[in-house]
């Protein structure tokens, strides 16, 4: 027994957690119901201190990933934690808490029953699924994922393992895809998910009382739960000749293959039915040079599901691709006439080499009805896909949607619905209650090179509002219930971002406002009601393209970071706008004629010191032919001469000489009224403060102090404290990310301990460190600040703070992390972001300014100027250099930030049109009193939007 004194009892708060260190080991202490408990102080999942976590009853929740442990037993209670915490024996004597690290959990937990929610075994042990399509495979996956361990028997009439059907009318039809690419439950999954297959068989009868399903091969399968995922078969035309060879229906892979074979020779195709299947067929065939006629019974395409203006749009799209669409046509019979087929209709006969019929799906509900399930045009189900008969579930095309759409129960024949319903049924069968389904029905169709997505469910009587050009890429249609004025669905032509936004629009409570949406009503003949054609490039369309998400500042859309137009606007409105841009330290150009190359935004400038001692900033672009004349990074010059035609400029950027200005022999030369004064280099406004040089394209900029505001100025002056900065060198690196992400990185104290485990591992940033995230009143500037604990007692405690939280984790040379307090500031670390292009870094004693040079929306260059002060002795300089190992593109912290920012940009470029979630610390915009906050990022975007007028 080795009892170690840990803490005074009165330092523990009831239902609280405290961190202590015993023999170098972090220990978390808890006071529950008057009794003290001790566990290891670090989560078994990832490096996080449980003392930063949350005590809830008898459990501790890790702050990092919300893993939960039982405090008394250390038991890991939920994912992601799988390994139990060590627990230690505790005793209390004379008001002191003692812990024995050697006496493990047995002392603490011997007589206690294991804690944790008892898990009821799932009710079902044997499951039979009837129908081997997409809903079935979704159900199987979700059952197994929900922990179901019983048997699964899958009965399917087709000989194939489950596959998805959307490609059948697209790539499969054209021979570009095979069944392998459509599989939803490949062989390997059949094995790993342990599914017994009964392919090529059907269920002939269900005995719901005995819970037995009888198969066509005579097998009787006993079940606890039975899922009907029977789908349906194509509705047949009840006319003569509907089953002739060459007359096709499309539901299975064999159907698709047979259509493909007959199209190989066909020159004329008749499609009966202008629904989605018919139009997709027409679209696929359009690429083959086959003359296609679509015959539709109703007055407009898809008249039973879509408002007429949208039907018109789909029809026009097909017609533009040389598909003949005839409406109000009744098909009377089909007959064989020699080598070809003739379709006789109310509009006359049509000769064809092949006929495809797509007039809807006849759902298979007989089995359900015979088993006693309620059927009403589809199998009636509840939100968990249970039918009216105990032990029987239904999902997919054959089932109704559980919530009526505008008072009417309907089926949704779509990939998405099969997937959702299948998964819900699987969950329910496995005994897991379904989470409330708030997903709007979603559907897509590929037609004539456009990917058309539909979110929500419209009714034929809905009004239609259009943005963009009717029937073209980027067109977005909103259907509105004329009675309530509410949005019912959104149809987007090759515009997935519009669908993403539509999710919120559809959830929104308000009445659709056509003016706000910059849309126009569409009539059933495809005209806009006011007779105007919406110009694609109109301002309305432009701003609707850059619509900020309706949630406000808690979302930042990707286009802010990736869009070229936005970037160009930023250069104009921000870098060349009303801002002070960092360009140099004065000590880089101490003498007359000294210059450096720099940038304002992406624009190259020269910073030079003129004869009168003034600092001048002008564009590095010859006024004559634009040549970037200054090529050296730095130097000393008497004047600047463009090498191309020898135009020369003085140290302030004024044009001094133009060769042959008056021509030669009275010929050529500049016009007589040419004045040098009118052709100088573009000169910028300049200001300096404490040795730091800023420039602006704006002629009436407010003074820098006013621009920064008092909070930011205070931190700026704490670093530039009057001593003369001395340049120690530069880092320059590219960073394949948007420049604003760098600001955000330093307005995001949340990432500091999560990304930079170095800081945590070596105790540099520990809970309890004083810290702050400050924003100025405008929201554009910020200071991330923290103080090492015990700054006053630093000399003695530095080593102690370098605690190794994992065995073997220690630095051989920890002195590079020492902080020598040379500043009049409560903070040991400040990262000051000065809009738009400067970061002032004071990471203990390693000091630097970082200049952002954007080169496009997706990349920027960062130039770091590391400095010390005049008067630093050699050891101090070396200390700064050693500490510099933390920063820069190879720094322990710096390289991680660069990588993380690249990952963010990669994510947006690889999966575009999304948005970022910036919700931490809700309701706050600006300065935050917690590090778990994104309030400063929101403040920055408040400013950005106003500067960008977006």
């Amino acid at each position: 027994m080795a009892w170690r004194k840990a803490i005074a009892l009165d330092e523990l708060k009831p239902n609280g957690v405290r961190s202590v260190e015993i023999d170098g080991k972090p220990v978390a202490l808890y006071l529950l119901g008057g009794e003290v408990f001790a566990t290891h102080g670090i989560c078994t999942h990832a490096l996080a201190f449980l003392a930063d976590g949350f005590v809830d009853g008898d459990t501790i929740e890790c702050p990092l990933h919300q893993g939960i442990f039982d405090i008394r037993s250390g038991k890991a209670l939920c994912s992601p934690v799988t390994k139990d915490l060590e627990t230690y024996a505790v005793k209390v004597a004379d008001g002191e808490v003692f812990v024995d690290l050697d006496e493990g959990k047995k002392a603490a937990t011997e007589d206690r029953a294991p804690v944790g929610p008892p898990r009821e075994p799932p009710a079902s042990r044997a499951v039979v699924i009837v129908g081997a399509g997409q809903a079935a495979s979704a159900a199987i996956r979700s059952m197994r994922a929900s922990g179901f361990t019983g048997t699964i028997d899958l009965v399917g009439r087709e000989e194939h393992l489950p596959y998805e059907r959307p490609p059948l009318s697209k790539d499969v039809l054209l021979g570009k895809a095979s069944i392998e690419s459509c599989r939803r439950l490949p062989e390997a999954d059949v094995v790993s998910l342990d599914v017994r297959m009964h392919l090529g068989r059907s269920v002939t009868r269900i005995d719901p009382a005995a819970r037995i399903a009888l198969l066509s091969d005579g097998t009787a399968l006993q079940y606890d739960a039975l899922l009907l995922a029977t789908g349906g078969v194509p509705r047949r035309l009840s006319i003569a000749g509907a089953d002739l060879p060459g007359v096709h229906y499309l539901r299975t892979i064999e159907d698709a293959n047979s259509i493909r074979r007959s199209l190989e020779k066909a020159k004329r195709l008749v499609i009966v039915g202008g629904g989605f299947i018919g139009l997709e067929l027409a679209s696929a065939v359009a690429t083959l040079g086959v003359a296609t006629v679509v015959l539709e019974r109703e007055g407009e395409l898809m008249a039973r599901v879509l408002p007429a203006p949208l039907g018109h749009t789909f029809r026009s799209l097909a017609e533009r691709h040389n598909v003949s669409v005839l409406r109000e046509v009744e098909v009377q019979d089909i007959r064989l006439d020699g080598q070809h087929l003739v379709v006789t209709t109310s509009a006359g006969p049509f000769a064809a080499d092949a006929v495809c019929i797509g007039v809807g799906l006849a759902v298979e509900t007989e089995l359900a009805a015979a088993a006693g399930c309620s059927v009403d045009g589809g199998i009636v189900v509840d939100a968990e896909q249970r039918t009216s008969v105990a032990g029987i579930w239904a999902a997919g095309d054959c089932a109704l949607h559980h919530s009526p759409v505008r008072g009417r129960s309907r089926r949704l024949e779509s990939w998405h619905n099969a997937e959702l319903q299948g998964a819900a049924a699987g969950q329910s069968i496995a005994g897991v209650p379904r989470s409330e389904d708030i997903q709007a029905p979603w559907f897509w169709t590929d037609q004539f090179g456009l990917n058309i997505q539909i979110l929500g469910v419209s009714s034929p009587g809905d009004k239609v509002a259009l943005t963009g050009r009717d029937g073209e890429r980027g067109a977005v249609y909103r259907t509105i219930d004329p009675e309530t004025g509410r949005l019912t669905s959104v149809v987007a032509f090759s515009d997935p971002a519009a669908i993403r936004h539509a999710r919120k629009e559809l959830e929104g409570p308000g009445v659709f406002d056509i003016a706000k949406a910059s849309a126009a009503w569409l009539t059933s003949d495809g005209k806009e009601e006011n007779g105007q054609v919406v110009n694609e490039k109109s301002v309305a369309t432009m701003t609707s393209q850059y619509v900020w998400p309706s949630e406000g500042l808690t979302r930042v859309p990707d286009w802010v970071y990736t869009d070229d137009y936005i970037y160009r606007r930023e250069v104009e409105k921000i870098f060349h706008g009303r801002t002070w841009n960092y360009v140099a330290l004065e000590s880089e150009i101490p003498d007359v004629g000294d210059f450096i190359r720099s940038n304002v935004g992406p624009t190259p400038v020269v910073v030079s010191r003129a004869e009168d001692g003034s600092i001048n900033v002008f564009e590095n672009r010859c006024a004559h032919r634009a040549a970037e004349f200054c090529r050296e990074l730095s130097g000393n010059a008497k004047e600047f001469v463009c090498p191309y035609h020898q135009w020369s400029y003085d140290l302030k950027g004024n044009l001094a000489g133009v060769p042959f200005r008056r021509g030669v022999d009275g010929k050529g030369g500049m016009p007589r009224d040419f004045k040098n004064a009118d052709h100088g280099l573009r000169q910028l406004k300049v200001t300096t403060h404490r040795g730091v040089v800023f420039a602006s394209y704006c002629n009436d900029m407010e003074p820098l102090a006013e621009y920064l505001g008092p909070e930011i100025l205070r931190e700026f002056e704490a670093t530039f404290d009057g001593r003369k900065p001395k340049v120690l060198g530069h880092y320059r690196h590219s960073l394949p990310g948007n420049w604003k992400l760098y600001h955000e990185n330093l307005k995001d104290p949340y990432h500091a301990t999560l990304l930079h485990t170095f800081l945590v591992t070596f105790g540099l940033l520990v809970a309890g460190n004083k810290s702050s995230m400050i924003a100025d009143a405008s929201g554009r500037h910020g200071v991330m600040a923290s103080a090492k604990s015990d700054v006053s007692k630093l000399d003695n405690s530095t080593k102690k703070e370098m605690r190794a939280y994992k065995e073997g984790m220690k630095l051989e040379e920890p002195r590079f992390m020492d902080f020598i307090n040379e500043f009049d500031s409560p903070w040991s670390v400040t990262m000051t972001t000065i809009w738009p292009n400067l970061i002032v870094q004071r990471e203990m004693n390693t000091l630097g300014v970082r200049q952002i040079v954007p080169t496009g929306p997706n990349e920027f260059i960062m130039k770091w100027t590391m400095f010390g002060f005049e008067g630093d002795d050699e050891e101090m300089t070396r200390h700064r250099l050693r500490q510099g190992n933390l920063m820069g593109p190879a720094g322990f912290l710096g390289l991680e930030d660069n990588e993380a920012i690249k990952f963010v940009q990669d994510g947006m470029l690889a999966v575009p049109d999304g948005e970022h979630v910036v919700e931490l610390d809700p309701g706050v915009i600006g300065t935050a009193d917690t590090l778990i906050s994104e309030a400063s990022i929101r403040a920055m975007y408040q400013h950005w939007r106003s500067a960008m007028e977006l």
Partner: protein, 170 residues
């Protein structure tokens, strides 16, 4: 010229030394290419300095280095931190070292040498190897019981820009 000729012996010595340094550099490159950073850190003497800095800084007499290690303890810390705590995308690296120049050996046993190096990098989201860094090693070697060890390696790189981040030493 015979084997006892002092000039001949000196030349043989030179050749052997040159061979030993080339062998050393191959092992050094292999340790980094295979990202065996603790092996790499043991190729230095206890009092070694290891600095990676830009030619821009070198030319201007600016001391700031991307990596700045004053002794093997700091080199080991670098290796340890990169292996245990640093987050960066996985990558393949290829260090190529050539144009070795022997600059002489002083009476204290410091062998001065120079070599050029190129670091090629492959990231898994981009198809090609890119030139990540190109520069010159300014070296001081010392002999030890285990063979040559670096007393100093000063890596001066020509690139103006570091492409995003230098995650593995050069």
């Amino acid at each position: 010229m015979s084997a006892t000729d002092p000039t001949y012996t000196a030349e043989i010595r030179q050749l052997l030394l040159r061979n030993a340094i080339e062998q050393f550099n191959c092992q050094y490159a292999a340790a980094l290419d295979e990202q065996r950073l603790s092996d790499w850190s043991e190729m230095f003497t206890a009092d070694a300095s290891y600095v990676v800095l830009s030619r821009e800084n070198e030319d201007r007499g600016h001391p700031v280095g991307l990596i700045y290690c004053e002794n093997r303890g700091m080199i080991r810390d670098r290796a340890f931190a990169l292996e245990k705590t640093a987050m960066f995308a996985p990558r393949y690296l290829r260090h190529l070292i050539s144009n070795l120049q022997l600059l002489g050996e002083d009476e204290d046993g410091n062998i001065k040498a120079r070599a050029n190096y190129v670091v090629l990098q492959v990231l898994f989201d981009r198809p090609d190897a890119t030139i990540h860094q190109v520069g010159t090693y300014h070296d001081v070697f010392r002999r030890s019981d285990e063979g040559l060890r670096l007393r100093q390696r000063r890596c001066v790189y020509d690139n103006l820009l570091v492409p995003n981040a230098l995650c593995i030493p050069v």
